[in-house]
Symmetry: none
Subunit: 193 residues, 4 copies
């Protein structure tokens, strides 16, 4: 058990190191040697936890995406109203991205780069299922536009990533007011009327 604990710590340290390095210089700058050094282990040790660099990055992606989804849907309540639920989820997502900038930045890189396996990406997408369900419900109730969930995602969720990037680069600070305006825009783009 002590050993297992230790192992989990190392796995976590390795993922954390990878996250940090990929963020600051892309996948190419996250060499296994640097990852190992930052996680205070030997390069060889990485291969006890991951099959390859590709596997390391994929697992990181899944881990982060899962933690992102967990945060997003924590307060999701199937019985509540659609808009209320959407707002909760949207805010939770925005909050997660503001609070966990490294993770957010990594996800936005992964989404636009061939660095993650297609299969893994699909796996990550499944985590968003509750949101898709909510939209279907909203469409049935005539609250949300009857368009493809990809459009809904593109207009109501995806923009958050752009705003995050701007914030991280110091170009556009995100305070509560801006967040509120952003949510408004998100809702306006997908809601009927």
């Amino acid at each position: 058990m002590a050993l297992l604990q230790k192992s989990i710590d190392k796995r976590t340290a390795l993922l954390k190191a990878t996250l940090c390095l990929v963020n600051s210089g892309g996948v190419q700058s996250a060499s296994m040697a640097k990852v190992a050094k930052m996680a205070n282990v030997s390069p060889a040790t990485i291969y006890l936890y991951f099959d390859s660099k590709q596997d390391l990055v994929n697992q990181l992606y899944l881990d982060v995406k899962t933690s992102f989804a967990a945060s997003a849907f924590k307060e999701y309540c199937p019985k509540a109203e659609v808009k209320t639920n959407f707002e909760k989820i949207w805010l939770a997502m925005a909050t997660y991205k503001l609070t966990n900038k490294e993770e957010a930045s990594f996800l936005s890189q992964s989404d636009n780069t061939p660095m993650i396996d297609e299969a893994t990406r699909q796996e990550g997408l499944k985590q968003m299922q509750p949101l898709f369900d909510l939209w279907t419900q909203g469409q049935k109730e005539g609250l949300i536009k009857d368009i493809s969930p990809y459009l809904l995602y593109a207009y109501s969720i995806y923009p958050i990533a752009f705003l995050m990037n701007m914030e991280c680069r110091g170009i556009c600070p995100l305070d509560k007011k801006v967040i509120a305006k952003a949510f408004e825009a998100a809702w306006d783009s997908i809601s009927l009327k």
Copy 2:
């Protein structure tokens, strides 16, 4: 003249090869050797046209961004109405991205990856100036929400990239109907009322 022409051809071939390789596997997989081979020149020749790999990628970014902007603003007419102009620009952008998928895919990668110099990125941003001007005008006329241009961009322009990615991966085909719906969502997100 013959010499100069030849040179321009090679430069173009090199940029084209880089574009193609970066798209299929990220910057890291676009090795100078592969780029050279695909452009049918010796690796050493690349350095007659570009200072370094970084310079090659930066110049590609600027070239593509410039061609994108040229297409986007081709029919922009300062005297026309704001919404008409915005629609023209938006459609031109969408058309460009649908017609030049490689370029579009490259731009979306560049925007979320540390592969382009910050300075070069800023340079590229300037190309979007006419759009910013249009928004300012729209805000004065009370047609467009009084929010930061970054928000406007995030909600009305940035989503196009997401839709492109989905189309490229065969997940969400973009026909005229979807495009129309997308524009609607874009306009709804930023317009007043």
Copy 3:
């Protein structure tokens, strides 16, 4: 222990290979690939022991200079007479250069070439301190001309390198008689009377 021993062996083999290659064709002809092959390791292995080619050459310089100084001053005895001491040192130096031609040849190259860092060169110079001290003592005792140590070095020590070069090129063989004459010339150039 086994590991450490092995490491020292490899470091030594790499330095030895570099020495040999630099001697036969200058720094430029001592490519990392050739050094690696001659030391029976992979090129990558070199970088486990040295930071860069520059570092490799610098360390070689320091190693050789140190071993040279060790030989030179082995029998140096502060209590003995100045001339006796000088003769011992001078002969030890000449003997070292005759016995270790590769090292001697390398040192004479280093001293006239921009291949060694200035800092490293200074470091190497410190090894000659006992000789400088001896000269100072000799000057106090009125045995040695009251001139800059650089002049003393130029006339009594530096010429050995020239003779070595000639010997190596088969131009001027150095037997005991010649050595004796050479020492005489050295002493005549720096001694008073």
Copy 4:
């Protein structure tokens, strides 16, 4: 004739550029491209004047050695006394090295480095013939020690190079007094009594 003149200028410019570059970073840093640029010609032009890089360096060596010898023996008068003649030559050499530091530095590099062909080096050595003749004369007259000319050279001429190097590195400035002391040491090392 105009053409010939032009050619000589270019040859000179190329040699000058090579001299400068070899001095500041060794042969390896004097790439043909850099030499061409510094001489304001195309790389291809170099090959109209020299067969190869090796040939370029060899010819530079011979040119410099010849100009050095010309200066050294300008005032040499077979009828004058040995010591007078030697002093004239020695001073002319020292003066040349002080006045033409670039050339001097290059010569001292060439003499200790495998960068010059052995054949070319021999060729250069011939230029020193008048000095060897003078020594022979001096030995006959019982003024100069009866030792190999290589010893004589090593002790009376070679040290100048060392002093030059020190001066160039700012370690040991050479004023008239030091020069006088240096000559004294030179003469003491080779003269009888």
